[in-house]
Symmetry: C2
Subunit: 456 residues, 2 copies
């Protein structure tokens, strides 16, 4: 690739001010939040304002064989948005308009750069709700959420991003701006290509608009139910008891002793005094008896302490341990974030294996989990600058992925494959299924320009 | 293709008794319930017992260039399972074992020939529920439901087949038996290929096993709420009022005067005396106030009569009009079944256009609708043997498809494209999107042996 003719072509195709060549500015866009994943050196950062500009960028890149790495807010945790050498970083955060909220049809149409919390706030203005709630929701974009099929806390009851995306516009590898999916509640005309793009991590095309389904805002304020347990296994039993009882909480989170101590050290909240492991459940039906039943499950599973909120403020306060856990751990050193998901009955077994790997590899592993889904986030923390510890952490990371697969689970429940899970995904899917991935990638991106080297 | 060497190869690859060559027997399998769609002449019917036999059939067909038309129970309404000339009909109805129901994980693993109602009954034995409920549920198979992404009455609250399929095994065009998707609640490792196969109507491979998510059985018996209206538009207003009120019924069906009269003529139920159009709503939360609110919506929209059930038996009886409408109409002559879906706010407009097309083309069009979803089933009825009427019906059929697209809807909400909606789908999706379909079809079925001429 000759850089000058390419930049000239790009400049000719876009209005002034859309291309950034300053290395320092570009550098700030060159990686996501996966601190451990490698990032290459881009040739330019492009900030399109509309789909037509995206199309022009894709056309120029296709013609000159320049790779494109699309990105939203860069809050990903797998390196999916990290630059590859010689790429154009296509920053979609400036395309941030909510184009439509239709209360009668209960849907919204947004540009990809709309921030998750902004959509939630706008929907709330109509008594509506966009459920997917990744922890990054104050910063992450609907485009990024769609590209990674983001999950969150309320998935256990309300599902993931995939369950809310009705349709989208994308720019394909053929340089066409096309519409996939629909606005209607149902539709089976042709293959589910909108669904195929959800979770494809920017490897099949660039999403320029998304139509999402909205729900009515839950009428009742949520209630929080807390159970404290003296071991991970006991907490795992609490999760199993909830499943057996047929209760569907709108959140069922686990926070372990490492996280509780880290929060205590930071905020002096005395959480670790409650017990070794907390389960945090949420009931959003307004049914007090359901909250009581959830608490009874925790008690029956051997909770050493349990309580439930009496008002909305207390409900939120009791969830603080969950919200503060990740930033509290980041204070202790670089965090390598896992994202395995196992059959929920195997949560205690997987947690036991994670503890064993921590010992075997001599690393600290804290655990946050969307326990009700079986989606665990072991957080491997090493002292800053300790290269040996970092090496051991990497080994523990891969061992945990293999165990998740061995237990019939997956190497990524909601964060995506990006760069960090490529080996794990190969182990999970096998060569035949990977061959199908490659065939589809070639069919939709024949020139191989979209986010090369990611996922597959 | 030389027939004898192919049949010899097939015979060598399968145990005795799996291949049927008798033309009369084959003929009974050569078409689905789309009476108006053409069907070709197959060379053989094959009834495999397991995935390995499916793999052997696919390998033999690929080697000899013989098309494969997979089929479940043949209850489809778009001709998707109709034979093409020279094909092998691959009848999967004999692979009908429920392999596993896991109450803790709330999932079932089934062979493709398991009948929908059988799965529902087996799940109910564990207090669990498989929601997708196409009208064909007493006969249709989970494999066919998956291949067509079948809907049903409860979609309005619980979604379609796609929302319950976690994973599957398929035999690909490369002759490999592979596993797609997962058993866990969440998972984003690689492209959503399981989702791509849902609704692909047998054009990408043969599904040999399906893993579906189950819900808890609703605890409360359902309540039925009936509203009778004196026009389609008034009933459409009733639907809009329900949406505005934020009520989520577990069914919201519309049955028009033609259907009511046909049921009355057959069963003498006096339904048409209630009003011209019935809305039938169902509430499954056990909340009597919600049933009352639904009734109030009907009344406020101008219902000339309304009532709600007091017990489970009455609730079921009030739904009789919906259940009996289709067989009652079939008594009157061949039925050409539409399946358009429009934004639900445009249901009155679409119904008005359907009425206009009935007049313009001088045909009878009855209407059943999953009104809460905007999914309408105009049923075009013509006298048996009247070729001119059949011609006019065909014109009305295509005009209705075009109007659905013009209103931002789709030509098929839940029945699939098959043969009957190919032109309509082209009009809906456009050439660029069809090109993507063809690219994906070629990638997964390079020899083009799976259900050729269907969908795309």
């Amino acid at each position: 690739m000759l850089l000058v003719p390419f930049i000239d072509a790009l400049s000719a195709a876009l209005p002034p001010g859309r291309i950034v060549l300053d290395a320092d500015v570009i550098g700030a866009y060159a990686r996501d939040q996966a601190a451990w994943a490698p990032a290459g050196t881009p040739v330019a950062l492009v900030k399109p304002q509309d789909a037509e500009q995206v199309r022009a960028v894709v056309a120029a890149c296709a013609e000159h064989g320049v790779p494109i790495v699309p990105r939203g807010a860069g809050t990903g945790l797998s390196g999916g948005a990290n630059a590859v050498d010689g790429c154009v970083l296509l920053a979609l955060d400036g395309m941030d308009r909510i184009l439509e909220i239709d209360p009668a049809e209960q849907l919204a149409v947004v540009q990809p750069g709309v921030i998750n919390d902004h959509l939630r706030a706008a929907a709330a203005g109509h008594g509506l709700w966009y459920p997917p709630d990744p922890a990054s929701s104050p910063w992450s974009t609907i485009g990024g959420n769609t590209a990674t099929n983001a999950g969150g806390v309320c998935c256990v009851k309300y599902g993931v991003t995939r369950d809310y995306v009705l349709g989208m516009k994308v720019v394909t590898g053929r340089g066409e701006l096309i519409t996939l999916g629909r606005r209607t509640r149902k539709g089976v005309a042709g293959y589910d290509l909108a669904g195929l793009f959800v979770g494809s991590e920017g490897t099949l095309g660039v999403i320029t608009e998304i139509t999402v389904r909205l729900l009515r805002l839950p009428a009742a304020p949520p209630k929080t139910v807390v159970g404290a347990f003296d071991s991970l296994v006991a907490a795992g039993e609490g999760v199993a008891a909830v499943a057996r009882a047929g209760i569907t909480p709108s959140a069922l989170e686990l926070v372990d002793r490492y996280c509780l101590r880290a929060v205590d050290d930071w905020k002096n909240m005395g959480l670790a005094d409650l017990g070794d492991v907390l389960l945090l459940g949420r009931i959003d039906t307004g049914d007090e008896s359901e909250a009581a039943a959830l608490q009874a499950c925790f008690d029956a599973a051997g909770a050493v302490f349990s309580t439930r909120s009496t008002d909305a403020e207390e409900a939120e306060a009791l969830f603080a341990a969950r919200r503060l856990a990740y930033p509290a751990l980041e204070r202790l050193g670089p965090v390598l974030t896992e994202d395995v998901c196992v059959p929920r009955g195997l949560v205690p077994e997987m947690l036991a294996r994670i503890e064993a790997h921590a010992k075997a590899h001599d690393v600290h592993i804290a655990n946050i989990a969307h326990a009700g889904d079986g989606n665990l986030h072991p957080l491997i923390v090493v002292p800053a600058g300790d290269e040996e510890a970092r090496e051991r952490a990497q080994q523990a990371f891969e061992s945990i992925l293999d165990d998740a697969v061995a237990l019939g689970g997956t190497v990524t429940g909601e964060h995506g494959v990006g760069l960090l899970k490529k080996r794990g995904m190969r182990a999970e899917l096998g060569e035949d299924v990977l061959a199908l991935h490659r065939a589809i990638k070639s069919a939709l991106d024949p020139a191989g320009i979209f986010n090369p080297g990611k996922v597959i």
